[in-house]
């Protein structure tokens, strides 16, 4: 595809602007969740005289990890369902969303490139997405 064709295609659907909005939206939404979670935590528990446990347990995992750490989306969901809502689960949900935001950007790039008439880059975005999913599966993913 020539440079001129790229410019023409870009005029129809501006892929850059679409991805930009996805990244911005994902970032802001996840930060909003983190802020809400922190506010809930501060109002429930208070921040004064609350020492932070900064040393990770020797053997983390389902049994060993400290209560404030979530190691799977299932644990996050359980925290969100409990009443009153577990504030740290709200923070963890925001963080999980943040981790997924770049992947979301690539996923949205595929139809955007197609709509812009750039099938080659729709294909490249699809391969990148497949490799991201593959490496998440290999490394254990968000469980």
């Amino acid at each position: 595809m020539t440079a001129r064709a790229h410019t023409a295609a870009r005029a129809a659907v501006d892929v850059e602007q679409v991805i930009s909005r996805v990244l911005l939206g994902g970032g802001l939404l996840s930060i909003a969740l983190v802020v809400i979670g922190l506010a809930l935590y501060a109002s429930h528990t208070g921040l004064r005289d609350r020492p932070l446990e900064v040393h990770r347990m020797e053997r983390p995992g389902r049994q060993g990890h400290p209560p404030e750490v979530f190691v799977s989306l299932a644990e996050v969901a359980a925290g969100l369902r409990s009443r009153p809502v577990e504030p740290l689960a709200v923070i963890a949900l925001g963080l999980a969303l943040l981790l997924m935001t770049p992947v979301l950007g690539v996923a949205v790039a595929i139809p955007s490139f197609l709509a812009a008439g750039d099938r080659r880059y729709a294909g490249i975005a699809a391969v990148v997405l497949a490799m991201l999913v593959l490496s998440m599966l290999i490394t254990g993913g968000l469980g």
């Binding site: 991805i19 983190v34 740290l88 963890a92 943040l98 950007g105 391969v127 490799m131």
Partner: protein, 282 residues
């Protein structure tokens, strides 16, 4: 440390890390990990978890702004990240087999050499007309951005794409194997091998590091390295800092960005060589 002290202090540190990361195309972990471990006494695993969050927050914040202004090149980023992620998958599967100390030494020396080449071209503002490259033409690896300092549209085209891809693959292998970010390598490959303008290199690296980090973020999560109380102020601060950084970089010359990049490169080279010799400092 009490949370009422920890939160504001880490928030401010993270704003700085996000700003620097957004300007230089790095994740900010290079600043955050040593500060969190040394000054705040945070466990190294929690610090690494905070670092991966910082990389993705920097990337999302900076790339969102840079894609809008056209400084970040989406096609070049996606094309090169193919090599980085496949490298990272290879690297992760080589862990435990490969001679890590030798790799760290090679990496340290390579970074030292690239610091030297960066000094040589430190005053190049915009690279000259690049020789035609078949891959660049075929995959549309070119673009333009409006430079507010030069007050003109700067057009660029990638060259030596094969070399750039190889460097990106190597960067991926190393980051998968050694668990280090590879933002500096991505910037070097684009700035030095492919001769893209420095600011395009850092802005495109900003887009790419989020994808490479996302590929390995799951494991930090499921290992329990992401502590919401440690990471919350980091995520907020870094995202804010990343927006500041993108506003800043539009006003900086390519030369200036390269001059700020150089000490980071030297620091990375030294810490890698020391790691290879068995001396760890984060």
């Amino acid at each position: 440390m009490e949370l009422s002290t920890f939160f504001p202090a880490v928030l401010l540190t993270s704003v700085a890390a996000g700003t620097v990361g957004a300007v230089l195309g790095l994740g900010g972990g290079i600043l955050l990990v040593p500060i969190l471990t040394m000054f705040f006494g945070v466990d190294i695993h929690y610090a690494m978890g905070a670092s991966i969050i910082s990389v993705i927050a920097t990337s999302s914040g900076a790339a969102a702004a840079h894609l809008r202004t056209g400084l970040s090149n989406l096609r070049i980023g996606l094309f090169l990240v193919l090599a980085t992620i496949s490298g990272a998958i290879v690297g992760a599967s080589l862990a435990g087999v490969a001679p890590v100390h030798w790799l760290e030494m090679i990496l340290g020396l390579a970074l030292g050499y690239s610091a030297f080449t960066t000094i040589k071209q430190i005053n190049v503002e915009v690279p000259g007309e690049a020789p035609a490259n078949r891959l660049a033409a075929r995959f549309g690896l070119e673009g333009s951005y409006y430079d507010r300092l030069l007050r003109r549209e700067v057009r660029y085209r990638a060259t030596r794409v094969g070399l750039g891809l190889t460097a990106m693959f190597g960067a991926g292998v190393l980051s998968g194997l050694l668990g280090i970010g590879s933002g500096a390598f991505k910037v070097l490959a684009m700035d030095y091998f492919m001769r893209l303008p420095m600011k395009v290199s850092t802005a495109t690296s900003n887009f790419m590091i989020g994808l490479t980090a996302a590929a390995s973020a799951g494991i930090y999560f499921s290992r329990g390295d992401i502590n919401p109380l440690v990471v919350a102020p980091v995520a907020i601060g870094v995202l804010g800092g990343a927006y500041l950084g993108t506003a800043l970089v539009a006003r900086l010359a390519n030369r200036t960005v390269r001059k700020v990049f150089l000490p980071v490169l030297i620091y990375l080279a030294l810490s890698m060589v020391l790691r290879a010799l068995g001396i760890h400092f984060p």
